[in-house]
């Protein structure tokens, strides 16, 4: 037994058979909160990441509708809890009791795709690598592992290869998952993987399975997903900033809803509110969206982004120009296509980028 354990610990690959997936992850869930993609409802098309529960339906054959963003950036996150209590030393006074809520419990997200993890690499720049470190984000981020699929399920909204990533991009992942006939091969990519494998209670793959996985990976590596060109957008957004005709052309049909930002793995904007309930309450960080009017509403009454045109300009500009200008060229879009698929009016960010480029290059020529 001990010897077997030891042998497992040293292995860098395991094989999970199709019928063994739930059990394997249930084993893991004794030590970690395991998030997996599953259907949102009984008959729904949409998928979302949720914590594993016994007998749940894990779906690894297409991209989730909602990204795993909320694992690290919950839609509503309590930062501080507070309570007013009668002061023990002076009964005529109240004491304010504060409790900071930092969650450091270990998490595995199983079944992410390269675009999902890329989303966190973008958010990391903001929350971990600037002048200020976000302790709430850091606590969750450092305690989360990603097991990522070599992705073979690109559709006509995907364009990860156009924005510096790709369907075989394992940057930021701890384990690579390769789907093969009859199951999945899991391969350790960071030191943290072997700990997981030792808890999985799975066999090592045989020669043939390793060869199958190699072939799948090769195929995925050779895929180029998307053909968006991004040269010139960086300067283009700046140059076309005042060209409201252009932005009208791009975003006239926008509803100014929050779908695109809430399904986006790289949209990290939040708001902070105090939510009291009697003598106690919490300071809450919740998702916000630059597509909302209130997002830029100033106390004076002035709103620098009064219409959806300025707001859409910000969404596109932030991802393809302001962010890369600030963070050494990294485009703040992972090309997952979620905003395109879920937009109620089918606004296509690729088309927006294309229009900006055209307008920009047009300007240069004339």
């Amino acid at each position: 037994m001990v010897a077997r354990r030891k042998e497992k610990k040293s292995q860098n690959r395991i094989f999970i058979p199709l019928e063994g997936l739930n059990q394997t992850l249930e084993n893991l869930s004794k030590h970690f909160t395991v998030w997996v993609p599953m259907p949102s409802g009984e008959n729904e098309w949409s998928l979302e990441f949720k914590p594993l529960h016994r007998g749940c339906k894990i779906l690894l054959d297409r991209q989730s509708t909602l990204p795993p963003k909320k694992v690290i950036l919950p839609q509503g996150q309590t930062l501080i809890e507070y309570e007013y209590k009668k002061s023990e030393s002076d009964p005529s006074k109240q004491d304010l009791v504060l409790r900071e809520v930092i969650d450091e419990s270990p998490i595995i997200v199983f079944g992410t795709r390269p675009c999902d993890v890329r989303g966190f690499l973008v958010c990391d720049k903001v929350f971990l690598q600037g002048r200020y470190i976000d302790v709430y984000y850091r606590a969750r981020r450092l305690n989360t592992l990603f097991a990522t699929l070599f992705c073979r399920e690109a559709d006509d909204a995907c364009f990860c290869s156009s924005v510096g990533s790709g369907p075989a991009d394992m940057e930021g992942s701890d384990i690579g998952i390769t789907p093969i006939d009859g199951g999945w091969i899991l391969e350790g990519l960071t030191d943290r993987a072997s700990e997981i494998f030792s808890l999985c209670d799975c066999e090592a793959p045989d020669e043939k399975q390793i060869e199958d996985a190699r072939r799948v990976q090769e195929e995925v590596r050779s895929m180029r997903v998307g053909n968006l060109r991004t040269d010139g957008v960086l300067e283009g957004v700046k140059g076309q900033f005042q060209n409201m005709e252009l932005w009208r052309d791009i975003a006239e049909s926008c509803l100014s809803c929050g779908v695109c930002t809430y399904v986006c793995p790289t949209c990290y904007c939040f708001t902070i509110t105090d939510e009291p309930q009697g003598l106690r309450g919490e300071r809450l960080r919740s998702w916000d969206s630059c597509m909302f009017y209130q997002y830029t509403q100033e106390a004076s009454g002035h709103n620098p982004r009064p219409t959806k045109l300025e707001r859409y300009r910000n969404r596109l500009g932030h991802k393809f120009s302001y962010f890369p200008l600030r963070y050494s060229g990294m485009i703040a879009c992972c090309g997952c296509g979620r905003c395109i698929r879920s937009c109620p009016v089918s606004i296509d960010i690729r088309q927006g980028v294309e229009r900006v480029r055209e307008a920009h290059h047009g300007c240069v020529c004339s």
């Binding site: 949102s40 409802g41 008959n43 729904e44 098309w45 949409s46 979302e48 054959d61 297409r62 991209q63 509708t65 909602l66 839609q75 509503g76 399920e153 690109a154 559709d155 006509d156 909204a157 009208r248 006239e252 049909s253 509803l255 100014s256 809803c257 929050g258 779908v259 930002t261 809430y262 399904v263 708001t271 509110t273 939510e275 809450l284 919740s286 969206s289 909302f292 009017y293 209130q294 219409t307 959806k308 045109l309 395109i340 879920s342 109620p344 009016v345 089918s346 606004i347 296509d348 690729r350 088309q351």
Partner: protein, 322 residues
């Protein structure tokens, strides 16, 4: 068939173009089953316009929500409407947001529009869609991994399966043949009635499960042509504060309750709120209950007669029945 109607539509637009400021219609989106709204301002763009059962969006909100296309003096804005959309236009006129003589209504009888998610569910995978064609009541989809044929009825939006006004109720020109509704008028609220026969626990469980999926993206609110507060919605207001920003069922329920009540007797059942929801929550169902009540109490249907005042926008001390 669709290409013929599209051709007629383009010809019609060609003819009226000199008199209108712009034409709001639909064009192809990122694939053939995803159509998007388009505002045509110059003749050269008319060829973009299409009509087919993928033209899901109700465009009437664009007439009123900022930055709307405002016609210059003496000109009009043309808009393409399906049966359900035409009721939204009437409702906007009823409530004083629009003037009838500022718009030119291109009505298109509609035999139902397609729910793309239902198509995907039939394909059982995400796949690149190469071609989609609807013929003789069937959809044929050619995608990266094969061809699928699906009876149209199985992939229509829920709103379309219960639509009783498929022909525009108001228009300046009609394109295409009159169609017959999918259901009889007396069956309009049979889903509501069936639901009400369930036990309180079952009903509570249903809403708890479906609404807990809500991500509070407010697409349902913003897509509704009659949700006119939009940027000043109680859902986001801090002062006075009605709803917290927590994504908990309690707050979600409160938002949807308020949303629905603000539409009581105004909602035309265009189904946009439900169609746009990324989490597939049947939010129109809540409004259907309110409309059933409005019909029963006031014999009133929103967006049918532009001369009527919606019952909750007026006060009659002699009101009977309530």
């Amino acid at each position: 068939m669709w290409s013929e109607i599209t051709k007629k539509l383009q010809e019609t637009v060609q003819n009226i173009m000199p008199q209108v400021e712009a034409v709001i219609g639909w064009e192809r989106g990122f694939n053939e089953i995803r159509i998007k709204p388009v505002v045509i301002k110059k003749e050269g763009d008319i060829s973009k316009l299409v009509w087919n059962p993928f033209c899901v969006q109700n465009l009437s909100g664009y007439l009123v929500k900022s930055p709307a296309v405002i016609p210059r003096e003496g000109r009009r804005v043309a808009i393409c409407v399906k049966g359900c959309d035409s009721r939204s236009v009437t409702a906007l006129i009823q409530e004083g947001f629009l003037k009838r003589d500022q718009i030119f209504i291109i009505g298109i009888p509609c035999s139902g529009t397609v729910d793309w998610r239902k198509v995907m569910k039939r394909l059982e995978r995400s796949s690149v869609i190469h071609r989609a064609e609807i013929k003789d009541g069937r959809l044929m989809v050619e995608h990266a991994e094969g061809v699928e044929e699906i009876p149209l009825r199985e992939i229509l939006l829920r709103r379309c399966l219960r639509c009783v006004y498929p022909n525009p109720t108001v228009s300046d020109v009609v394109i295409g043949e009159t169609v017959s509704p999918h259901i009889e008028k007396e069956d309009l609220y049979k889903d509501v009635e069936a639901f009400e026969r369930k036990s309180l626990d079952e009903r509570r469980k249903f809403w708890a499960e479906t609404l807990s999926r809500c991500i509070r993206c407010y697409a349902c609110r913003n897509a509704c042509p009659l949700c006119i507060c939009q940027d000043w919605c109680i859902a986001e207001r801090r002062d006075p504060k009605w709803v917290t920003q927590k994504p908990t069922l309690k707050d979600i329920l409160l938002f949807h309750g308020i949303h629905a009540l603000h539409l009581a007797g105004r909602c035309t059942e265009c189904g946009e709120c439900e169609r746009v929801c990324p989490m597939e929550i049947p939010v129109m169902f809540i409004k259907e209950k309110l409309n059933e009540t409005t019909l029963r109490l006031f014999s009133y249907e929103a967006g049918i007669d532009s001369n009527l005042v919606p019952p909750l926008l007026t006060f009659n001390p002699h009101e009977t029945g309530i």
